[in-house]
Amino acid sequence: MTRRLMEGSEAIAEAALAAGCRFFAGYPMTPFTELLEHFAKRLPETGGVCVNAESELEAIGMAWGALATGARAATGSTGQGLALMQESLSEITRAELPLVVFHMARGQGDYYQATRGGGHGDYRHLVYAPIDVAEAVALTQLAFDRADRWRNPVSIYGDYLLAHVAESVSIERLDFGPLPAKDWAVDGSLGGSGRARIVNPLGMETGVKGIDPDAFWKRLQAKHDEMARREARFDAEATDGAELLVVAFGTLARFARYAVRELRREGARVGLFRPITLWPFPVEALRRAAAGARRVAVLEMNAGQMIDDVRLAVLGDAPVVPIGGISSDPAGFGIGPLLDAERVRERIEGALAVEAA
């Protein structure tokens, strides 16, 4: 397939279609709106359905119903809309449905929301944070695969820049290997057989009165523990011999990568570690990358959220300092002055100067 210049929102929607997504429901909200627009246009053209939901509550509910029939389905919003969806997101995790969520955040202040969630009970879902449009295309397809493989929600953490920057990409269906049959999905055909199915978040079984939450939740915990062991992804560069290790994710990591490469060329001993999965956080990889560093600098555009995970990974082996911070445009869309290579370079240089002193 030829490469084409595409805005991030369009590329993500096309990647979802390539992955076989047949249902989408959403409610407009910047910077998620264009993603909804593309699904609304393209899904009916490809035999799917996109419903203009009346709120985020309905959007995730509709996706839930579509998923229960075995279809690949997705929803999304920005952090504000995702806040409304948390109850369903938590229960869908317990119903073990393969939901893909496009979390097009207003900046990086939704890190806690994406990785800890605001829903009830013990639940986890994979969170991918692409650095650019090409990676978003690949991770979107991976998200649908991993959602089916684990029968668990997966979210893509994007932002205003990812949604709106146009880049040259090619979109082809990626093959991740065979998946288990969806022998849990409902189509109505098992009525009266004594084996009718029930897709549910409570651990119910047909013909069995009552539930056993203790055993059910422990089984889910074991699954989430296994996901944590197997699904961590990261990108690291120039970490060998680095005295300063910069940790950044998503769009801001792209600026950090530019600045780190520039500084390396000038002889600075600085490396970059980028978690691609925000959950599971690549704990072991970061610990190894930070092993020789005298200082770990966390660059994130918020009051300090990912820094908790960095500290838990480094476990005091090196000082962990914040070099980012809140940085917003007047509209609050998360495209603040820190999204600038010079400014990011200054922050990294500041941390290097402390190191030198």
Binding site: V49, E58, A59, G61, W64, A68, G192, A196, M204
Partner: protein, 266 residues
């Protein structure tokens, strides 16, 4: 004393015959009518039920119909997503008044307005039965509940919502009706209405809705034997039974007719 046959034979779409709900509860009766209606319209092998959260959730494992268990209030959206992916399936929701009318009111209204080809079934007993008898959006004025001890007071607690009447007014609604299982005729009427609602869905005419008034003596703090009478007298006089809309045509609502007949009504 004459021996009576009372539902010892289970419906074909039910697993097992017993349930754990309270004596005198109207919900198992409504469920039986629902399961029989699915059979009667020939949809046993193509029905998908979306169950809300309430006492009736305990009945979900006993249904031998493909099901999706939804969150409190959210069943209409879940049914929407399933129907859009399985247009040939018979999609119905099973919800209580707390679920549908209190927590999830916008869900059922939007789903009706969209003309979604699903059937929403409301079991309305005017209380949160599962929590032990608390006020819902359909609790009638004067009704005593655990959080309206002196009776629902319009000035303090607001007015009940007559959800069937409200949904009947939406253009997307093709069929709307209200039944009551307080006596044999009401039980038979519930099944007839459920069948008509399902037939409406199968003809793809739009959204269909059946409200079934059910006994909850536990949540009403009355004796088991008093349940049917209380339902008919207290809830039935406000949530008046009858068909509200059929084949997309608005029927002057039973409740409005009843109100107009009252002294001072217009």
């Amino acid at each position: 004393m004459r021996e009576r046959q009372t539902g010892l034979e289970k419906p074909a779409l039910q697993v097992g015959v017993d349930h754990d709900l309270c004596p005198g509860c109207g919900e198992p009766l409504a469920l039986r009518m629902l399961l029989e209606a699915i059979e009667d319209v020939g949809c046993a092998q193509r029905a998908i039920g979306v169950v809300g959260i309430g006492c009736y959730t305990a009945l979900a494992p006993l249904m031998d119909v493909d099901r999706i268990q939804a969150l409190h209030g959210r069943a209409p959206s879940v049914a929407t997503g399933a129907k859009r992916m399985r247009p040939d399936a018979l999609l119905f929701t099973l919800q209580g008044d707390g679920d549908m009318v209190s927590e999830g009111l916008q869900e059922v209204i939007h789903t009706a307005a969209r003309g979604e080809a699903i059937t929403c079934v409301l079991l309305n007993n005017g209380v949160f039965g599962e929590t032990g008898g608390h006020m819902t959006a359909t609790t009638v004025l004067g009704q005593r509940t655990k959080n309206s001890l002196d009776g629902r007071d319009a000035a303090y607690h607001g007015h009940p919502i007559l959800i069937g009447d409200l949904l009947a007014q939406l253009d997307g609604t093709a069929y709307a009706a209200r039944a009551s299982v307080h006596d044999a005729a009401g039980v038979a009427g519930a099944k007839r209405m459920l069948k008509r609602a399902f037939e409406t869905q199968l003809r793809r005419e739009g959204f269909s809705f059946v409200e079934i008034l059910t006994m909850c003596p536990t949540g009403w703090f009355v004796g088991t034997a008093e349940g049917p009478g209380y339902l008919d007298r207290v809830l039935g006089s406000v949530h008046v039974t009858g068909e509200l809309k059929r084949e997309g045509r608005f029927v002057p609502t039973a409740s409005l007719r009843a109100r107009a007949a009252q002294p001072g009504g217009d």
